[in-house]
Symmetry: C2
Amino acid sequence: MKTINIMADVFAANKAAARENRDWFARQGVYAVNLMSSPGAGKTSLLEALLKDCAGMPFCVVTGDLATDNDCARVRRTGVPAVQVNTGRGCHLDAAMVRGALEQLKPAGGIVFIENVGNLVCPTAFDLGEDMRVLILSTTEGEDKPLKYPTSFEIADVVVINKMDISRFVNFDLEKTKANIRAVNPKCRIFTASAKTGKGIYAVKQHILKSALGKIG
Amino acid sequence: MKTINIMADVFAANKAAARENRDWFARQGVYAVNLMSSPGAGKTSLLEALLKDCAGMPFCVVTGDLATDNDCARVRRTGVPAVQVNTGRGCHLDAAMVRGALEQLKPAGGIVFIENVGNLVCPTAFDLGEDMRVLILSTTEGEDKPLKYPTSFEIADVVVINKMDISRFVNFDLEKTKANIRAVNPKCRIFTASAKTGKGIYAVKQHILKSALGKIG
């Protein structure tokens, strides 16, 4: 019982911080996108593809990892400002960490992309105050993941099925995967893409832009 | 500070349960192997490959997932007894969950394989009382994972690089990956394998058997 009370405290503190972020985003006119996935599903590659030719656009990125600033360095090469958060042993970003990074980035309007720690479980439980939750599933992970990690798929606004370029080498069943996603989340938008070849990226980008523009006013 | 004290309590409780498991394993003459990886890296496939033609051997399996008993059903088809633990929203197995499953399986000697929840962060922090920690990294996840998730690689006794059959389709750099593993853990044994084709499985199996037999007496 102790564990439950303990976690309730942690979640309550995060909830308050997320609420502050949400107010702050609204005041700054910022649209925040939280990208979540397993390690290696392609969060950074997807960001690189989405941000290609976007230097000068009102975009910025917060990258989360236990260690290294590799992801941040990769994103910065697109010309879009980015800040790395290292969580040490921490398995997710929380709202306070995101706020700390944004105080460095100082976005005035535009879109903030938050690349969460690679983990298909824990980030689900930590609201960052974001407007959109994008879950990335790669074809190499298998069709059963929506059923086995339902909490992540339940909260997604958008699911991007990435690594479609190698789907045939892993006998990936797209229809089965979509049906499994639909079983836990009938409402989310599903996109197929390859961050590597760029196929399908345009549609994802359009959807994010459209949703962000919809927040204006 | 509160969070730190809180987590210290959770870890202390788990540590005590892990110590009990360790004593219990010693009394039963059981060798316990904890398999950890990202979602979809191939823990269950590797188990299926390792347990092929092993019905009747003194082996049993505990599979951990948030939801579904798919993995357990797959393992049972090898003829080896298995019990599923569903963690709900929980991101790892803990020592008490494993003990609960083993009280159903009642192993008298032999090897217990514990398939942890797919997560490259949290299971690291929860000792299950196991004798061997096997970390599975698939070629599709990228060469940088040992540097980005160092805590998981640090504690591994064995790293199995899986999905070698599709390594060329993802431009996987084996030497770079091995160097990155060595950078965080100079001592672990590294194997390359494909659970799908079976290549490399024999060496992994021999290593586990040899280590388990070394515990006798």
